[in-house]
Every structure is written in structure tokens, then in C-alpha cells.
Amino acid sequence: MSYHVNENGYFGSFGGAYIPEMLYPNIEELKRVYSQMISDPAFTAEYTQLLRDYVGRPSPLYLAERLSQKYGASIYLKREDLNHTGAHKINNTVGQILLAERLGKKRIIAETGAGQHGVATATVCALKGLECVVYMGEVDIERQAPNVARMKMMGATVIPATSGSKTLKDATNEALRDWINNPADTHYIIGSVVGPHPYPDMVARFQSIISEETKWQLKEKTGSTEPDYVLACVGGGSNAMGMFYHFLDDANVRLIAVEAAGKGVDSGETAATTLLGKEGVLHGSRSIVMQTEDGQVVEPYSISAGLDYPGIGPQHAHLYASKRAQYVSITDDEAMEAALLLTQLEGIIPAIESAHAFAYLDKMQFKGGETVVVCLSGRGDKDLNTYMKYFGL
């Protein structure tokens, strides 16, 4: 079975480009320029150089010894938290800003949930001297204030999304509307593996550097490129897709995607998309979407702004439907406890998003000696307010 995109923009029965005619020329142009770009050695050289000298790649693969002792398995952390700007998001924005240059676009728009993608976009815009507008849910602006300040400091305009649930879904709607109204001069840097084709495939490829490095790093450390398990958290699913990408065809590697259950899967305040969602179309692609019987998109909830999304990328929907990856969920409380555990055992404060992946370790049964890679997709600095409130620090 192929886990990759076909020539019509589909992963199995998921994907496509469900966009209004206004965006059709943009999407066509994007497809054309993107496919020329990825086979252009000049692009590869520039992308690789920026990832190395600006982002700080390769990010370390770190054997977390005390965590490993606790669970009885060799647990490696892929340290995306050590990237410039503190998360995996910048791998994609570096790629897309080079694309924007090739498209000749002068204005960049983005949506952001936790603010990490907004920061990563504002960063590359500052780097290239391009105008940057970031849409962010009003609720998220409040709970991720430090990231809002960082974006502003880098010269970006942050526009609050005030419709609907005032979170990531609505920020994405606003960004798409902006693009419809400014099709000629603007490039939309989507932050996750969602949106109309070619975005899901493109973002996955820019993020696939995570698993590409993991393979050779693991080989150096263990002699094998194949771990037993790979874990990552999933909102839209970009860090997970990057973490899974080069393992997709390694049938022995078990892939585990961890969704946010919020206050519990049955609580009505959750973002556990694969458990509660149905096939549908959201933000330009056919995937699995949390929705009512009538097809109205449900407002999700998670303590982590980055997982607070009612859909998943179409490639994830395909991995779920084909059972190539296992989709599980973790509650707010479980994630917060896991974050504290990682902090106290390893001296690493994770983003609350990433903490969801760590929390699942507690639910796994290890025989002893298995190799596990967990994607530590971001650092927790942005979440200090939430941690302080939750733990009464």
C-alpha cells in the first residue's frame, strides 16, 4: 500500500483540494512552482544550509536514561525543542519562505494555534524582509501571550480571529479568507499537514527531516535504523507526519499518534478527532473531522492550544483508516503530569502538546529493551502561564 500522495492529490480516499474557484489559480501556481523547486539542487542547498546554520539542525537524538529506567525501554527524544524558535514548526516555514521567494510573493500570511507556527513564520519573514500577517484565535492570544509578543517584536501583525471558537480552526478560516481577498501578492504558509493539496504533502516533506535524521542518528547509537515504536502528538499532525515519514514503509516500526482528549473523550470538551470524527471536508481537504450529524464542525477543546483542532491532516486520516499508525488519546491531566515527570527526571520542560506523546508511555507495556523514539516537538517556555496556573507554582 502507498502511504503517499497520488497525482490527484489524494492519500487513499483522503485529501484533494476542496477550495473555492478564487483560490484555484493560487493552488495551481503553488503546485507547479513547488514541484519545480523540490527537484532543484539550488533549493536543496539553500534549505539545507538554513536548517544547519540558522535552525541548528540536526537536532539531537537524546537517550533519556532516567525516563528509560522508569519505563523499562530505551527511550530516545528527538529534540525539536532545541530548534531556533523552540519547536519543529520552523522546518516548514524555512522551506515555504524559499517557496514564497520563488513565487515572487511579497506578503506572507499564516494561522497559528499555540503561536509556535506564527513565531516560526514571523521569524523567516524577518529573515527575508517580507511582510507578515498572522491570524490567531482570540482565546489563544490570551493563553500564549509570550508568543504574541515575539511575533510583534519581529515585525508581524497579529490579527485576532473572533469568529466561532476563537481558536486555531477560526484562525485558519480567517487566513483562507485573507488569501481569497489577496490572491496575487500573498503566499499562505500553512503550519500543519492540512489544507488543500499540495499543502499536506509539502508540509510533510519539509517536516520529514525529523525522521530522516532520526534514522541515521539511531543507527549511530544502536546499530539499527529501526526503533520498535515511534510516538508523536497530533493536532493537525505536522510533527507526527515528519516523525513518521521515513518510517512509513518500515512495517516493523509501530507508529503511535497521540491526540488530545481534553477533559476526556466523552466530556464534550475534547480534540480526539479520530475517535469522535467522521469523514468530511475541512479547510480544503477531505479527512476525518469532528462534526455534528448535520456536518457543522464541532468546536474542539484541549489545554494545549496546538492540539485544539477538530480535524487531522488527510495523510493521517489515511494512516488511521489503513491502520498503518495507531491513534490514541491523552487527557489534559495526563499530559500535565507527564510534563512534570519529564521536567523532574530529565530537566526538560516540554510544550504541553509534546507532553501528550510522553503521557502515552505510561499506558504502554514494555517487555524490556525495546527502542522507543518520542518526538519532543517543542519546548515549554510558551506554556509557563498554563503550568503555573495548573500546578499552583
Binding site: Y18, P25, E293, Q296, V297
Partner: protein
């Protein structure tokens, strides 16, 4: 021949279509408004299916959608309300909505329900041509439901020709690449675009929409197309008290039959 083709056979110029959101302002106002619009002189109607994430719409229609959903409007309820449509309304009626609610209702069931209640066509802006052709065209055609495509100033000539081939009813010409509810600014570029389409001599009639809000913009649009569509301006009227009484004046005002200050 369905009602849409009949209409355009009889009337070639200054055709007026009015859009409003089902279930707004009141849950059960849909058919009353439709009837009032026909009486007031609208040539055909577009009834919007409310959706939680209407990404081609500006604030006015977004707001009406949100309220309609809160009122309890669903696709299923809309078809129930439309059961008596043809007893009260004789002009062509189209449904306009986003693809997800249609998918959840079921595309086949949706087309069949349209045929059953006498809906003549649908406009689904986020249903791509490729998917329509591959998966849904047969079902639409079997039920004699016209699928209306959009054209923007940036749509290529080749694609316009393809759209013309696939269309049966009319083609929806967007005045600009924008979300709904912006005002029409007819620049030289817009006029060039309208004239370019007019000169293509498409087999389908064309209607201009987005930014048509008064008699001036309506008559300007009618110079280049068979008529025009008013959306946000009418939805805004529905937000006022005694809106039912204001409908005749609104429609006559757009058509220039009375002058509105």
C-alpha cells in the same frame, strides 16, 4: 428543460437573483422570505445552507449562518420546510452551501431531495470541478439539478471553456476575487474582464455576483452579463425590524423601479 433554462430563454437581460440564508433571521422564515421576494419581482432565488466554517463569506453572511445554526437550521429541516415551496414559489430556486453538510446528508440523497421539493440547482463553491466530474455529475444530472460553477477574474480561458461545457443553467461570474459582502468597484481591469467573458460567447448565460448591493451596481453588472446576484445587502436588510415589509421596496430599489435615497 428546468426552470433556470426557461427563465433565461424568456429573459435575457437584467435578471435579478437574491440570496438569503435559510433559517435566518427566524428558523421558519425561509419560505416566507422566498415568497415575498418572488412577489416583489426577484427573478430567481438562492437559499444559503448555513455552515459553521463558510470560508468564502464575509462577516454579514458568516453572521447569518452562525445565527441560523443556533436557531436550529439543518439540511434535513430545510428540505422539510421546502416541501411546500412549489405551492408558494414559481421562480427558479437554487441552494447554495458548502460541501461538508452536503456530504454528511449524502450527495445522492441531496440531489434526490432537491428534485423532490423542486430545487432547480445548487452552488457549492468548495466542490472542485474534478470531484464533481468524477464522483457526482451523474447524480446531479439524473435528478435534473444544475450545478453552478464560479468564474473569477483569474480563471483561465481554457478553464472557462471547460466550465461552460460542464454547466447547464448559468455561470456565476465573481466581480472580483474576494469573499462576499465587499462593495463593487468597477475598475478598467474589471470592465476588461467582464468584456472578455462577454466576448467569449459562452453557451450558458452569466450572472455577476459579489459586491452587487444597489441599483447602480446592478445595472452596471447587467451591461456585461444576463443579470446579477445580490447577497450580503439583502441579508443585512433581514437584520432589521419589520424586514418582511421592506422586501418589496428593496427589490424594486435594486431594479431601479423606485429610487431609494
Amino acid at each position: 428543460m428546468n426552470r433556470i433554462s426557461q427563465l433565461f430563454n424568456q429573459k435575457k437581460t437584467s435578471v435579478l437573483s437574491i440570496f438569503f440564508t435559510a433559517g435566518y433571521p427566524g428558523l421558519h422564515s425561509t419560505v416566507d422570505i422566498a415568497e415575498a421576494l418572488e412577489k416583489a419581482g426577484a427573478d430567481f432565488l438562492e437559499i444559503g445552507i448555513p455552515y459553521s466554517d463558510p470560508l468564502a463569506d464575509g462577516p454579514v453572511i458568516q453572521n447569518s449562518s452562525q445565527k441560523a445554526i443556533a436557531n436550529g437550521m439543518t439540511v434535513k429541516l430545510l428540505f422539510e420546510q421546502l416541501k411546500d415551496l412549489r405551492k408558494r414559489v414559481s421562480v427558479p430556486v437554487l441552494l447554495m452551501g458548502y460541501v461538508n453538510p452536503v456530504l454528511q446528508y449524502g450527495v445522492e440523497r441531496f440531489c434526490a431531495s432537491c428534485a423532490e421539493v423542486g430545487v432547480d440547482g445548487v452552488i457549492v463553491p468548495d466542490l472542485p470541478m474534478y470531484e464533481y466530474e468524477e464522483m457526482y455529475r451523474t447524480c446531479f444530472e439524473k435528478n435534473h439539478v444544475s450545478n453552478i460553477f464560479l468564474i473569477t477574474p483569474h480563471t483561465s480561458e481554457e478553464r472557462i471553456k471547460k466550465i461552460d461545457e460542464l454547466s447547464n443553467g448559468f455561470i456565476y461570474l465573481l466581480s472580483s476575487s474576494s469573499t462576499t459582502g465587499k462593495s463593487l468597484s468597477v475598475s478598467a481591469t474589471t470592465e476588461d474582464y467582464f468584456a472578455r467573458i462577454k466576448n467569449m460567447n459562452l453557451q450558458n448565460p452569466t450572472m455577476i455576483g459579489f459586491g452587487i448591493s444597489d441599483h447602480t451596481s446592478f445595472s452596471k453588472a447587467s451591461e456585461y452579463a444576463n443579470g446579477a446576484i445580490v447577497g450580503s445587502a439583502f441579508v443585512r436588510l433581514l437584520d432589521s425590524e419589520n424586514y418582511m415589509e421592506k422586501i418589496p421596496e428593496f427589490v424594486k430599489g435594486i431594479k431601479g423601479e423606485i429610487s431609494v435615497s
